[in-house]
Every structure is written in C-alpha cells, then in structure tokens.
Symmetry: C2
Subunit: 447 residues, 2 copies
Amino acid sequence: MTINIPELGKPRIVIVGGGFGGIELAKALRRADVQIVLLDKHNYHTFQPLLYQVATAGLEPDSIAFPLRKIFKNQGNLQFRMAEVTRIVPEKQSIQTNIGSLRYDYLVLATGSKTNCFGIESIEQNAMPMKSVPEALDLRSLILQHLETALETDDLKERESLMNIVVVGGGPTGVEMAGALGELKKHVLPADYPDLDLRQMNIHLIESGDALLGVMSPVSGQKAHEFLKKFGVNVWLDTFVTHYDGNTVTFKDGRTLSAKTLIWAAGVMADTVSGLAADSLARGQRIITDEFSRVKGYDNIFAIGDVAAMTSEKTPKGLPMLAPVAMQQGQLLAKNLQALLNDKPMRPFTYFDKGTMATVGRNRAVVESMGIKTQGFMAWFMWMAVHLMTLVGFRNKLVTLVNWTWSYFNYDRGIRLIIRPYYPNYTPNPDIPPQAQQTTAAIPAKV
Amino acid sequence: MTINIPELGKPRIVIVGGGFGGIELAKALRRADVQIVLLDKHNYHTFQPLLYQVATAGLEPDSIAFPLRKIFKNQGNLQFRMAEVTRIVPEKQSIQTNIGSLRYDYLVLATGSKTNCFGIESIEQNAMPMKSVPEALDLRSLILQHLETALETDDLKERESLMNIVVVGGGPTGVEMAGALGELKKHVLPADYPDLDLRQMNIHLIESGDALLGVMSPVSGQKAHEFLKKFGVNVWLDTFVTHYDGNTVTFKDGRTLSAKTLIWAAGVMADTVSGLAADSLARGQRIITDEFSRVKGYDNIFAIGDVAAMTSEKTPKGLPMLAPVAMQQGQLLAKNLQALLNDKPMRPFTYFDKGTMATVGRNRAVVESMGIKTQGFMAWFMWMAVHLMTLVGFRNKLVTLVNWTWSYFNYDRGIRLIIRPYYPNYTPNPDIPPQAQQTTAAIPAKV
C-alpha cells in the first residue's frame, strides 16, 4: 500500500520527524517549488526542554506541544501524515511506514534521539524515561499515585521507598528535573499532604562524573550543585547505577537505596531508522553526515539534529545533541536543497553556539552565553525569556506565562491531576468490553 | 485492612464523591467540630459542564479539573483519600473501598451519575461516553485519529464513515457537543486538513423526543435547533437509536447511518453504591431521600446530588440532575448535620431554580433564568460569565479566559494533540516489558 499523496511532478522532499530540525527545515522551504511531505508518529511537535515541567505539575501538556497541522496550515507545498517510519529502502528511493510506503526524491531524517539505558535490562524495564509527552504524564501520575499509596502504609521503610525519587544523570535534564522536584517537595506537597511527614521524602540526583552540568564550565556546575542543596536535593557524584528492580537502586560500589521512582536522564542515543548501510552509522547509532548534512554513502538522503553525527576535524564525535544545532542545520539544509535543485553549490554548516542554560528550581538558573557566565536570579529570568520566546505558538506562550506568573507568586503548581493512571502491571480484563478498557472506570483502582 | 485515618473521638462524617455536592458540603463544614473524610476515585474535581470543550479541542483537561487536595489544603478538619467505594455495610456503620474499610458516624453519598445506555449492549460496547476527563480525552483522540485515517482511504464510503459523527441525545450536553463539533468542522478543520473534502463530514444530532432541550421551554429548543442548522448540524427529532456496531447506526424505523464515532449523551443514571436495602432505591437506581437528604430507612446515611431522588409531593420523581441542586443540597446538609449534632431541628430543602442555559457553537446560546428567556449573542455572553465564575480556582478561570478569548478572535481551537491514543482493540504485547506498555512507543501506531 502506498501513502495517499498525489505525484505532482515536482521534486518530492520527505522529512521524517517534526522536532526542532524538521519543522525549521519545512518552514524554510515554504516558498520552494517542491512537494514536501512531513511525517511524525505524533500529530504534534514537542518542546522537549520543558517536558520536566509537565512531569512536575507545572505546565499542561498542551502548553508545550503544538499540533503540526496547525504550524503548517498555510503552507501549500507541504502535506503532513501521522506515520511511523519503519524502514528506508534506498535502492527504491522509498520508505516504509505503518500506513504504507512513500517514494522520495530527497529524504531528510530528523528523527531525534531516544532514551539510552546502556543495555542495563533492569533499568530499561523499571526506570521512567522522559522523552515524550505521554512519558512525562506517566511520570506525573506515578509520583502522585505513590504519595497517595504512602498514606496507607504503616511500614516505615515502604513509605520512604514510595516517597523517595532518584534522578539519574547530572546533565541539564537531570538538574532541572531534580530542582523542580525539590521545589515541589518544599513548597507544594506539605500543604497537599498534611498527613505525610515530608522530611521522609528524599530526592537524589546521581551523576557518574565528578561534576554536574559537564557540558558547561565548572563554575556553573558548582553553582547548580549549591542551588540544589538549598532545595534539599542530595547530589551524589562519581556514582554509577548498575541495577534497579523497581524498588532498590544498586550502585557499582555495592551500596543500595530504596526508591519506587527512578527517572533515567543519564543518556540518549540516536533514534535511527533501519535500512541504511552499516558504515553510515557512528557510535550511539548516530548517522554520519558530511558538512552538508548528506548521509555518508548516499546522494539524496540527509540527516539533521540529534540523529545526525556531522563529523569534521573539529568535531570528530559530531556536534552536541541540542535544539539549536538541529534548528540551524534545518535552516541551512533548506537553502542547500534549493541550491542542489538549481545546480548551485551547497554551503557547508558552521555551528553558531548561542550558549547553554539550565534552571535549578525556583528563581535560580545557570547561564553561559556569548562569553558571559551568570548564575542566580538574573540567569533565571534570562532562562524564562529564552524559553518563552522559543515556544511555538502565541497561545502556548500566553498560557505558559500565566502559569509561571501564577506559580511564582503563589509558590504553587496548578496541574496535579492523575488523568493518565500509570499501571506498570496493568493487563486488560477479558470480561470487560475492549472499548471500555481505556477508561479509568475499567482499570482496577488499586495499584 | 482499615484506611489509615486516626480516630479523633469526634463525630466522623464520611463524604463519598468530590463532585459539586460533595465539595460544597465539605467546604460548608469547615468550621464544624467534626472529622470529615472525603473519598473520590479521582484526585480531582471535574467541572462536568465543560467536558465537551475538552473533547472538542477547546480547553486543556487541567483547566476544567481541580486537585481535591488543593481545594481543602487549609481545612484542618478534613482528610482526603483517593479511593473507590465498593460497598456500604450499614449494620457495621462501615464502608468498603479498594484501599480498605472505613467506619463512619454519618455517611453522605454524593457519587453522582453515570452514562445510561438503557441496556442496549451494542451501544454500551461501541459508543463513546463523555462523563469524565479520560473519556473526553479518548473522544478527542478518536475524532482526530479518524480524520488522519480518512486521508489514507480510497473507499469513499469508508472515508465518510470515518468523518461522520453522531451525537445521540438532544439535551444540553448533546446540543453543546453538536454545536462545538459544528464549529470545529466549519472554522478549524478545513485549514488543518486541506486534503480532506470536509463537505463529506456530517454531524448528526439524534433526539428521541419531538424537540431539543426538552427541559427548557419550546422557544429555547427551537432557537437551539436554528443555531445548530446554521453550523451545518443535521438534527433528527423523534428518532430512536436501537443498535450501533461501531460502524453503522440503526434506527427503530430500520433506517441506517454510517459513522465510526457515536457519542452517547442520551441518558444518565445514578452511580449508586451497593449495600443499601432494595426499597431505598427509586427508578434509575437513584437513592430515595426525604427533604433532609436522609436516605429512606437509615438515620445516619444521607445522599445528595444526582445520586439522590429527593421525592416530595411536588417532585414525585425527584429533583433534576443538575449541579445547582447538588450544591444547594450540600450547603443545607452541612447546616442540618450540625443541627443534628447539637440536637436542634433540621430544615427541609427547597430548590431555588436559577435557570438553565446551553451554548450552541460560537457566539450563540439559549438562557432561561428568573423569568427571562433570551437567545443569541447576549445569552452566549451570560453563559460564559456564569461558567467562568463557577470554575474552581483562579488559575483555571484565567487560563480558560485566555483560551476562550484566543479562540474567539482567531476562530481557532488550540488543543488538538492526540496525547492519549485511543485503541479500541489494543492488547498489550507480551514481548514488551510491561513498564513500556503505557507509552505510545509500545502501542502499535496503526489503529
């Protein structure tokens, strides 16, 4: 079966993935005389830098995600399909998806990255990832459900385990997540759970290296460490997690920790599509490209963003997996594809590093940008401004601003619903009609 | 196992259900020298009158739901537990729940109502109900998924069936739902789905009686009918649905209609808890109470709101199942319980009817209140004001106002994410770790 898209006799550019890279590329091609087909497994773009706020009850999922059809509703040369690409068939210039196959003239892979548990099976099975909106919602539900359950336990050890949260990975995602959890514990939960002794709740941030925020300078890492301590977060450096059974975290040196929630933010890997030659792939499954984003060994297949390893003498391991890299590569590739179509020379990519930032709980952030290093309240203000400006859609900006202003003045988080109950061991009841299985009514209320 | 709540030596009032009646009662008891335990199967209060806006992409679920713990965070005499009550044991003054049993001195049932399919099994299995936040989200996902699938069908009949939506029930819920769908079809979907011929999409509103909005006066029903026609909704009066197999709707006179989405808003019934004597129950499982909300045959069990049939000479069938009835009963019961505890006489309930209103798509509503009947733009404005004022929580009011203002000026609905994919026939994959089953990654992307 072929996807239902007409042949227009124009060069067809198929873009796989509606993340930062994919949408920048598609937008920049809006005046090109080509046929663009954008595919994504979701019908929305996810603003991943703020996913941790969905998981910690700060923002609605709808504020940080944006319908892809809406982004492109006035772009006549683009068609969107909600589809998951399963295989590339380069010899046929075609891709296979769950809704059918599709021919391409030019293929751009912008599939991003996925959680990497480094092959530790117990972590793959029991840790909570946080790379998508449904995962963030599952995490929010799990944390809140555990607190409800903690109220009903007389076993002190069990109660601690239900309340404890371990975040693995001291990069920006782990630091922001731990900071937000610290804020939740300090300012929000005590009023919500007067019956629980929240001093028993411990938030641990585990990092295998010797400093937090390894991608930034030591001063930023140290400041982030300080800020986290103030929020009551326990930071463990030089510590490796080797096993997690859903209840006990085991470290390399044999020590253990009880926690029923473990958030894995320690690694990502490229979310590669199969079908490319083996020598096109680098370490961590990233797709090797030249400085024009062209995939090694192919003339008409390109890769941008997290999934691509644009290797050069200066960056033998490829560029960092960051939104600005993806966006800049998307913007340049739009120009280069048009150059290619007009037999003009392509321009090589150079990364313009705007800097890095991470927020640490209420009122605090660390920022490194254009030679400036700053930490604390002003950095936090800059962090907010940059994230608000980057959010897609005016409505989202406005709703997010309302929520942030509200939280700031009220020391509160508005969004604490368990709307997507999380049942690790949920199996459908054969006695209930299948239609009813997805509603809460049919799901056993006891976890 | 007993629920972990200490005995304080004070009279214990157990309230089952955090709907309009339950929270009004609990709030009005805030200064009483009693121990209140509030139970609900969700950890949030649902503002049911706006559920249809969640289902039609107008509002985030978090805007119309409010965490129960947050409502009562400063009320020292109340404890909340997320629990589902399974049985009342009057002879032991105790209730059984999924997290344990609980003793009561006074029990108040405020469990509300649930969808009633009048025993038609094919409808129970295949129709979409809309009484809770997860159900509204399922409905939103289903409608959007069907449109995505419609793009990939060459079978014209199949495509129509995917696009058609049938709403059964011409009361306020059905009318508001049909109006919102008409608005979606007219103003939002054409830009989102340029490849779909939306003239093929038909929205049908089916009513078994001879007029819409039977609870209101004929003029309101006629105006609503007119407004719906303008939005392109097909209204069928005097029409009974007898069967629905998920694809074909069959009517009593033998006619059929193809539609893969059927929304059932034709009936509700009391959501009664088992354990009461059979003669305490009236038609539709409602619990018979006297004018003090006391359940027939029991001294210390009360029922308020939709679940209660407060029968009197004037209202032999009980009062209408409306939020204002529940709220007023809750407020009076708080006073009467305190009177009872102080050996003072209780006051009988009188319902103060503030009127009824229903919105019909963009800019139109019908209102009947205090002897005034009005329809059109002013009525719509009144509808908005009343609903905004009634929403719990300032943040919710503000975010809802932002969304409504945005939609009004942009003819748009912001919230079109399929974050809770709806898979009627989804069965977990035994090869995938159970933890991963709830994420979209593990769910087959093809419906």
